[in-house]
Protein backbone atom coordinates (compact mmCIF):
# COMPACT_ATOMS: atom_id res chain seq x y z
CA UNK A 1 0.00 0.00 0.00
CA UNK A 2 1.37 3.44 -0.96
CA UNK A 3 1.61 6.39 1.42
CA UNK A 4 -1.26 8.10 -0.39
CA UNK A 5 -3.45 5.02 0.06
CA UNK A 6 -2.69 5.07 3.80
CA UNK A 7 -3.64 8.76 3.81
CA UNK A 8 -6.98 7.95 2.16
CA UNK A 9 -7.70 5.15 4.67
CA UNK A 10 -6.88 7.42 7.64
CA UNK A 11 -8.92 10.29 6.17
CA UNK A 12 -11.91 7.95 5.85
CA UNK A 13 -11.47 6.95 9.52
CA UNK A 14 -11.44 10.70 10.27
CA UNK A 15 -14.71 11.19 8.35
CA UNK A 16 -16.37 8.46 10.43
CA UNK A 17 -15.00 9.78 13.73
CA UNK A 18 -16.08 13.34 12.93
CA UNK A 19 -19.51 12.03 11.84
CA UNK A 20 -19.84 10.28 15.21
CA UNK A 21 -19.01 13.54 17.02
CA UNK A 22 -21.40 15.54 14.81
CA UNK A 23 -24.26 13.08 15.42
CA UNK A 24 -23.49 13.18 19.14
CA UNK A 25 -23.40 16.97 19.01
CA UNK A 26 -26.89 17.24 17.54
CA UNK A 27 -28.29 14.65 19.95
CA UNK A 28 -28.83 11.75 17.53
CA UNK A 29 -26.25 9.54 19.26
CA UNK A 30 -25.63 9.22 23.00
CA UNK A 31 -26.83 11.28 25.93
CA UNK A 32 -27.27 15.04 25.84
CA UNK A 33 -26.47 15.86 29.47
CA UNK A 34 -23.80 17.60 31.55
CA UNK A 35 -21.57 15.48 33.75
CA UNK A 36 -21.97 12.38 31.62
CA UNK A 37 -18.55 12.92 30.03
CA UNK A 38 -15.95 15.47 29.02
CA UNK A 39 -17.10 15.48 25.38
CA UNK A 40 -20.44 16.88 26.50
CA UNK A 41 -18.65 19.69 28.31
CA UNK A 42 -16.44 20.44 25.31
CA UNK A 43 -19.30 20.26 22.84
CA UNK A 44 -21.54 22.47 24.96
CA UNK A 45 -18.88 25.19 25.33
CA UNK A 46 -18.93 28.39 23.30
CA UNK A 47 -15.88 27.20 21.34
CA UNK A 48 -17.85 24.32 19.84
CA UNK A 49 -19.05 26.73 17.16
CA UNK A 50 -16.77 28.21 14.48
CA UNK A 51 -18.12 30.84 12.03
CA UNK A 52 -21.66 29.95 13.03
CA UNK A 53 -21.26 26.23 12.29
CA UNK A 54 -20.64 23.46 14.84
CA UNK A 55 -16.96 22.43 14.91
CA UNK A 56 -17.97 18.76 14.59
CA UNK A 57 -19.70 19.59 11.27
CA UNK A 58 -16.55 21.41 10.12
CA UNK A 59 -14.65 18.24 11.03
CA UNK A 60 -16.80 16.09 8.77
CA UNK A 61 -16.39 18.55 5.89
CA UNK A 62 -12.61 18.80 6.46
CA UNK A 63 -12.03 15.04 6.48
CA UNK A 64 -14.34 14.60 3.47
CA UNK A 65 -12.24 17.07 1.45
CA UNK A 66 -9.03 15.40 2.65
CA UNK A 67 -10.40 11.97 1.76
CA UNK A 68 -11.36 13.15 -1.74
CA UNK A 69 -7.90 14.64 -2.37
CA UNK A 70 -6.16 11.55 -0.94
CA UNK A 71 -8.30 9.23 -3.11
CA UNK A 72 -7.42 11.26 -6.20
CA UNK A 73 -3.74 11.23 -5.19
CA UNK A 74 -3.83 7.46 -4.66
CA UNK A 75 -5.10 6.92 -8.20
CA UNK A 76 -2.48 5.64 -10.65
CA UNK A 77 -3.16 8.51 -13.07
CA UNK A 78 -2.02 11.08 -10.47
CA UNK A 79 0.75 9.03 -8.85
CA UNK A 80 3.42 11.45 -10.15
CA UNK A 81 1.44 14.62 -9.50
CA UNK A 82 3.51 16.76 -7.14
CA UNK A 83 0.71 19.34 -6.70
CA UNK A 84 -1.44 16.78 -4.87
CA UNK A 85 1.41 16.18 -2.41
CA UNK A 86 1.57 19.92 -1.77
CA UNK A 87 -2.23 20.01 -1.29
CA UNK A 88 -2.09 17.09 1.15
CA UNK A 89 0.68 18.71 3.22
CA UNK A 90 -1.22 22.02 3.25
CA UNK A 91 -4.52 20.41 4.26
CA UNK A 92 -3.06 18.19 6.96
CA UNK A 93 -0.82 21.05 8.20
CA UNK A 94 -3.92 23.22 8.64
CA UNK A 95 -5.59 20.31 10.45
CA UNK A 96 -2.64 19.99 12.85
CA UNK A 97 -2.70 23.72 13.64
CA UNK A 98 -6.46 23.77 14.23
CA UNK A 99 -6.28 20.62 16.39
CA UNK A 100 -3.49 22.22 18.45
CA UNK A 101 -5.77 25.25 19.02
CA UNK A 102 -8.62 22.97 20.10
CA UNK A 103 -6.36 21.05 22.51
CA UNK A 104 -5.23 24.38 24.00
CA UNK A 105 -8.89 25.39 24.51
CA UNK A 106 -9.74 22.03 26.10
CA UNK A 107 -6.77 22.19 28.49
CA UNK A 108 -6.77 25.84 29.48
CA UNK A 109 -10.22 27.29 28.79
CA UNK A 110 -12.79 24.50 28.99
CA UNK A 111 -10.82 22.35 31.47
CA UNK A 112 -12.06 19.09 29.96
CA UNK A 113 -10.54 16.67 27.50
CA UNK A 114 -12.78 14.92 25.00
CA UNK A 115 -11.12 11.62 24.06
CA UNK A 116 -12.83 11.55 20.65
CA UNK A 117 -11.39 14.99 19.89
CA UNK A 118 -7.98 13.69 20.96
CA UNK A 119 -8.50 10.73 18.63
CA UNK A 120 -9.16 13.13 15.78
CA UNK A 121 -6.05 15.15 16.68
CA UNK A 122 -3.95 11.94 16.61
CA UNK A 123 -5.32 11.01 13.18
CA UNK A 124 -4.54 14.49 11.85
CA UNK A 125 -0.99 14.37 13.26
CA UNK A 126 -0.41 10.97 11.64
CA UNK A 127 -1.87 12.23 8.35
CA UNK A 128 0.48 15.21 8.42
CA UNK A 129 3.57 13.04 9.03
CA UNK A 130 2.66 10.68 6.18
CA UNK A 131 1.81 13.61 3.89
CA UNK A 132 5.27 15.11 4.58
CA UNK A 133 6.95 11.78 3.75
CA UNK A 134 4.90 11.57 0.55
CA UNK A 135 5.88 15.15 -0.35
CA UNK A 136 9.58 14.40 0.18
CA UNK A 137 9.39 11.21 -1.88
CA UNK A 138 7.64 13.12 -4.69
CA UNK A 139 10.23 15.89 -4.52
CA UNK A 140 13.04 13.34 -4.84
CA UNK A 141 11.31 11.74 -7.89
CA UNK A 142 10.96 15.14 -9.61
CA UNK A 143 14.64 15.97 -8.94
CA UNK A 144 15.85 12.58 -10.18
CA UNK A 145 13.68 12.93 -13.32
Amino acid sequence: MTKRMVLAVLALCGVLLAAYLALHDIGIIGTLACGSGSCEQVQSSKWAVFLGIRVAIWGVAYYAVLFTVAMAAAHERFSDDHRLSVALVALTGWGVMYSAWLIYLELFRIHAICRWCMGSASIVALLFIIAVFDYRAQARTVISD
Binding site: L32, G35, S36, S45, D80, R109
Partner: protein
Protein backbone atom coordinates in the same frame (compact mmCIF):
# COMPACT_ATOMS: atom_id res chain seq x y z
CA UNK B 1 8.46 19.32 -21.36
CA UNK B 2 6.99 15.84 -20.95
CA UNK B 3 7.76 14.21 -17.65
CA UNK B 4 9.63 10.90 -17.87
CA UNK B 5 8.35 7.83 -16.07
CA UNK B 6 10.42 6.70 -13.07
CA UNK B 7 11.47 3.52 -14.93
CA UNK B 8 12.96 5.61 -17.76
CA UNK B 9 10.32 4.73 -20.35
CA UNK B 10 10.94 1.00 -20.24
CA UNK B 11 8.10 -1.47 -20.72
CA UNK B 12 6.28 -2.13 -17.43
CA UNK B 13 7.34 -5.25 -15.58
CA UNK B 14 4.30 -7.64 -15.80
CA UNK B 15 5.02 -9.17 -12.34
CA UNK B 16 5.29 -5.72 -10.74
CA UNK B 17 2.18 -4.54 -12.57
CA UNK B 18 0.15 -7.51 -11.31
CA UNK B 19 1.34 -6.88 -7.75
CA UNK B 20 0.45 -3.19 -8.09
CA UNK B 21 -3.03 -3.89 -9.44
CA UNK B 22 -3.59 -6.43 -6.65
CA UNK B 23 -2.54 -3.83 -4.05
CA UNK B 24 -4.86 -1.28 -5.66
CA UNK B 25 -7.74 -3.74 -5.58
CA UNK B 26 -6.97 -4.49 -1.92
CA UNK B 27 -6.95 -0.76 -1.20
CA UNK B 28 -10.37 -0.19 -2.73
CA UNK B 29 -11.79 -3.24 -0.92
CA UNK B 30 -10.41 -1.87 2.36
CA UNK B 31 -12.00 1.55 1.72
CA UNK B 32 -15.39 -0.05 0.98
CA UNK B 33 -15.17 -2.31 4.07
CA UNK B 34 -14.27 0.61 6.38
CA UNK B 35 -17.09 2.72 4.92
CA UNK B 36 -19.68 -0.06 5.31
CA UNK B 37 -18.59 -0.98 8.85
CA UNK B 38 -18.46 2.70 9.86
CA UNK B 39 -21.87 3.58 8.45
CA UNK B 40 -23.40 0.42 9.97
CA UNK B 41 -21.88 1.29 13.36
CA UNK B 42 -23.18 4.87 13.27
CA UNK B 43 -26.63 3.68 12.16
CA UNK B 44 -26.71 1.17 15.04
CA UNK B 45 -25.76 3.86 17.57
CA UNK B 46 -28.34 6.29 16.13
CA UNK B 47 -31.08 3.66 16.34
CA UNK B 48 -30.33 2.84 20.00
CA UNK B 49 -32.68 4.52 22.50
CA UNK B 50 -31.21 7.76 23.85
CA UNK B 51 -30.58 8.70 27.43
CA UNK B 52 -29.84 6.52 30.37
CA UNK B 53 -33.20 5.45 31.82
CA UNK B 54 -33.25 3.72 35.19
CA UNK B 55 -35.57 3.11 38.12
CA UNK B 56 -36.10 5.55 41.00
CA UNK B 57 -35.32 4.10 44.42
CA UNK B 58 -38.73 4.49 46.12
CA UNK B 59 -37.43 3.05 49.39
CA UNK B 60 -35.59 6.32 50.11
CA UNK B 61 -37.51 9.14 51.84
CA UNK B 62 -39.50 11.45 49.55
CA UNK B 63 -38.17 14.88 48.59
CA UNK B 64 -41.34 16.72 49.62
CA UNK B 65 -39.54 19.29 51.75
CA UNK B 66 -36.67 19.90 49.36
CA UNK B 67 -35.97 22.05 46.31
CA UNK B 68 -38.41 24.47 44.71
CA UNK B 69 -41.79 23.55 43.29
CA UNK B 70 -43.72 25.07 40.42
CA UNK B 71 -47.30 23.94 39.86
CA UNK B 72 -50.38 22.89 41.74
CA UNK B 73 -50.34 20.63 44.82
CA UNK B 74 -53.21 18.71 43.20
CA UNK B 75 -51.34 18.06 39.93
CA UNK B 76 -51.63 14.50 38.60
CA UNK B 77 -47.85 13.96 38.62
CA UNK B 78 -44.78 15.50 40.21
CA UNK B 79 -41.70 15.55 37.98
CA UNK B 80 -38.40 15.98 39.79
CA UNK B 81 -35.62 17.72 37.90
CA UNK B 82 -32.01 17.58 39.09
CA UNK B 83 -30.26 20.47 37.41
CA UNK B 84 -27.18 22.64 37.40
CA UNK B 85 -27.48 26.35 36.57
CA UNK B 86 -24.21 26.39 34.62
CA UNK B 87 -25.03 23.30 32.58
CA UNK B 88 -25.75 24.49 29.01
CA UNK B 89 -28.07 21.55 28.39
CA UNK B 90 -30.14 22.45 31.48
CA UNK B 91 -30.17 25.97 30.04
CA UNK B 92 -31.41 24.63 26.73
CA UNK B 93 -34.17 22.75 28.55
CA UNK B 94 -35.14 25.80 30.63
CA UNK B 95 -35.27 28.18 27.67
CA UNK B 96 -36.59 25.92 24.90
CA UNK B 97 -38.71 23.22 26.54
CA UNK B 98 -39.90 24.63 29.85
CA UNK B 99 -42.08 27.50 28.51
CA UNK B 100 -44.24 24.93 26.67
CA UNK B 101 -44.36 22.72 29.76
CA UNK B 102 -45.62 25.67 31.80
CA UNK B 103 -48.31 26.56 29.29
CA UNK B 104 -49.56 23.08 28.49
CA UNK B 105 -48.80 20.90 31.51
CA UNK B 106 -48.25 23.02 34.61
CA UNK B 107 -50.94 25.68 34.12
CA UNK B 108 -53.47 22.97 33.23
CA UNK B 109 -52.70 21.07 36.46
CA UNK B 110 -51.24 17.97 34.81
CA UNK B 111 -47.79 18.21 36.40
CA UNK B 112 -45.76 20.16 38.91
CA UNK B 113 -41.98 20.38 38.71
CA UNK B 114 -39.67 20.07 41.70
CA UNK B 115 -36.32 21.71 40.93
CA UNK B 116 -33.49 20.05 42.86
CA UNK B 117 -30.07 21.71 42.86
CA UNK B 118 -27.23 19.55 41.62
CA UNK B 119 -24.21 21.83 41.09
CA UNK B 120 -21.56 19.90 39.16
CA UNK B 121 -17.94 20.28 40.21
CA UNK B 122 -16.84 20.95 36.62
CA UNK B 123 -18.71 24.30 36.65
CA UNK B 124 -16.81 26.88 38.70
CA UNK B 125 -19.54 29.56 38.88
CA UNK B 126 -22.53 27.32 39.39
CA UNK B 127 -22.64 27.56 43.20
CA UNK B 128 -22.92 31.36 42.95
CA UNK B 129 -25.91 30.96 40.63
CA UNK B 130 -27.61 28.40 42.89
CA UNK B 131 -27.11 30.67 45.91
CA UNK B 132 -28.54 33.60 43.93
CA UNK B 133 -31.63 31.58 42.97
CA UNK B 134 -32.25 30.51 46.58
CA UNK B 135 -31.87 34.11 47.74
CA UNK B 136 -34.44 35.16 45.14
CA UNK B 137 -36.63 32.37 46.51
CA UNK B 138 -36.27 34.05 49.89
CA UNK B 139 -38.34 36.88 48.38
CA UNK B 140 -40.75 34.52 46.59
CA UNK B 141 -39.06 34.91 43.20
CA UNK B 142 -37.15 31.68 42.72
CA UNK B 143 -38.71 30.90 39.32
CA UNK B 144 -38.25 34.34 37.70
CA UNK B 145 -34.61 34.19 38.91
CA UNK B 146 -34.29 30.61 37.63
CA UNK B 147 -35.44 31.79 34.20
CA UNK B 148 -33.13 34.83 34.23
CA UNK B 149 -30.10 32.80 35.31
CA UNK B 150 -30.60 30.34 32.46
CA UNK B 151 -31.43 33.04 29.92
CA UNK B 152 -28.22 34.95 30.66
CA UNK B 153 -26.07 31.86 31.33
CA UNK B 154 -23.50 32.97 28.74
CA UNK B 155 -22.91 36.22 30.68
CA UNK B 156 -22.07 34.77 34.10
CA UNK B 157 -20.73 31.23 33.45
CA UNK B 158 -17.08 30.36 34.07
CA UNK B 159 -16.21 30.82 30.39
CA UNK B 160 -17.50 34.41 30.58
CA UNK B 161 -16.35 35.79 33.95
CA UNK B 162 -14.53 35.14 37.20
CA UNK B 163 -16.94 37.48 39.03
CA UNK B 164 -20.40 35.96 38.44
CA UNK B 165 -22.02 37.65 41.47
CA UNK B 166 -21.97 41.01 39.71
CA UNK B 167 -23.88 39.67 36.69
CA UNK B 168 -26.25 37.66 38.89
CA UNK B 169 -27.00 40.80 40.94
CA UNK B 170 -27.99 42.51 37.68
CA UNK B 171 -30.45 39.69 36.95
CA UNK B 172 -31.79 39.95 40.53
CA UNK B 173 -32.29 43.69 40.09
CA UNK B 174 -34.05 43.05 36.79
CA UNK B 175 -36.70 40.88 38.42
CA UNK B 176 -37.32 43.50 41.09
CA UNK B 177 -35.70 41.99 44.18
CA UNK B 178 -34.95 43.99 47.30
CA UNK B 179 -31.23 44.28 46.65
CA UNK B 180 -30.15 44.91 50.25
CA UNK B 181 -31.88 41.73 51.38
CA UNK B 182 -30.59 39.80 48.33
CA UNK B 183 -26.97 40.94 48.80
CA UNK B 184 -27.01 40.09 52.48
CA UNK B 185 -28.44 36.63 51.70
CA UNK B 186 -25.83 35.94 49.00
CA UNK B 187 -22.89 37.29 51.03
CA UNK B 188 -23.75 35.23 54.10
CA UNK B 189 -24.43 32.11 51.99
CA UNK B 190 -27.73 31.80 53.84
CA UNK B 191 -28.93 28.74 51.94
CA UNK B 192 -25.62 26.92 51.52
CA UNK B 193 -26.73 24.10 53.84
CA UNK B 194 -29.96 23.52 51.87
CA UNK B 195 -28.02 23.52 48.63
CA UNK B 196 -25.54 21.00 49.94
CA UNK B 197 -28.42 18.84 51.19
CA UNK B 198 -29.88 18.83 47.68
CA UNK B 199 -26.53 17.85 46.24
CA UNK B 200 -26.12 15.03 48.79
CA UNK B 201 -29.62 13.81 48.01
CA UNK B 202 -28.75 13.65 44.31
CA UNK B 203 -25.58 11.70 45.10
CA UNK B 204 -27.47 9.32 47.39
CA UNK B 205 -29.85 8.58 44.52
CA UNK B 206 -26.95 8.02 42.09
CA UNK B 207 -27.75 11.04 39.93
CA UNK B 208 -24.59 11.80 37.96
CA UNK B 209 -25.68 14.05 35.10
CA UNK B 210 -27.89 17.07 34.52
CA UNK B 211 -30.64 17.44 33.62
CA UNK B 212 -31.98 14.26 35.23
CA UNK B 213 -35.76 13.87 35.38
CA UNK B 214 -37.81 11.57 37.55
CA UNK B 215 -41.22 10.64 36.13
CA UNK B 216 -42.87 8.63 38.89
CA UNK B 217 -40.53 5.66 39.09
CA UNK B 218 -38.59 6.24 35.87
CA UNK B 219 -35.36 8.24 35.78
CA UNK B 220 -34.24 9.85 32.51
CA UNK B 221 -30.86 11.57 32.32
CA UNK B 222 -31.06 13.43 29.04
CA UNK B 223 -32.25 16.63 27.38
CA UNK B 224 -35.92 16.33 26.49
CA UNK B 225 -37.97 18.20 23.95
CA UNK B 226 -41.53 19.16 24.89
CA UNK B 227 -42.98 16.17 23.02
CA UNK B 228 -40.57 13.75 24.70
CA UNK B 229 -41.28 15.29 28.11
CA UNK B 230 -45.04 15.10 27.57
CA UNK B 231 -44.78 11.46 26.43
CA UNK B 232 -42.87 10.57 29.61
CA UNK B 233 -45.48 12.40 31.71
CA UNK B 234 -48.39 10.57 30.07
CA UNK B 235 -46.67 7.19 30.45
CA UNK B 236 -45.95 7.90 34.14
CA UNK B 237 -49.57 8.90 34.76
CA UNK B 238 -50.73 5.71 33.02
CA UNK B 239 -48.35 3.66 35.19
CA UNK B 240 -49.71 5.36 38.32
CA UNK B 241 -53.28 4.53 37.26
CA UNK B 242 -52.36 0.91 36.54
CA UNK B 243 -50.66 0.61 39.92
CA UNK B 244 -53.72 2.11 41.65
CA UNK B 245 -56.02 -0.45 39.98
CA UNK B 246 -53.94 -3.38 41.30
Amino acid sequence: MAKKRANGGQKPNPVKSTKSSSATRGFYILIVVIAIVGIAGLSYLAAKPQGAASQWDSSLPSLNAMGHVEGSDSAQLEVIEFADFECPICGQFATLTEPDIRTHLIDSGVVRIRYMDFPLSMHRNTWNAHRAAWCAGDQGKFWPMHDGIYRYQDSWNSEATSNPDKVLAGIAQGIGLDMAQYTSCVDTKKYQAQLQANELEANRRHVDATPTFVFGTKVVANYLTYDQFKAEVMQAIARQKDAAKK
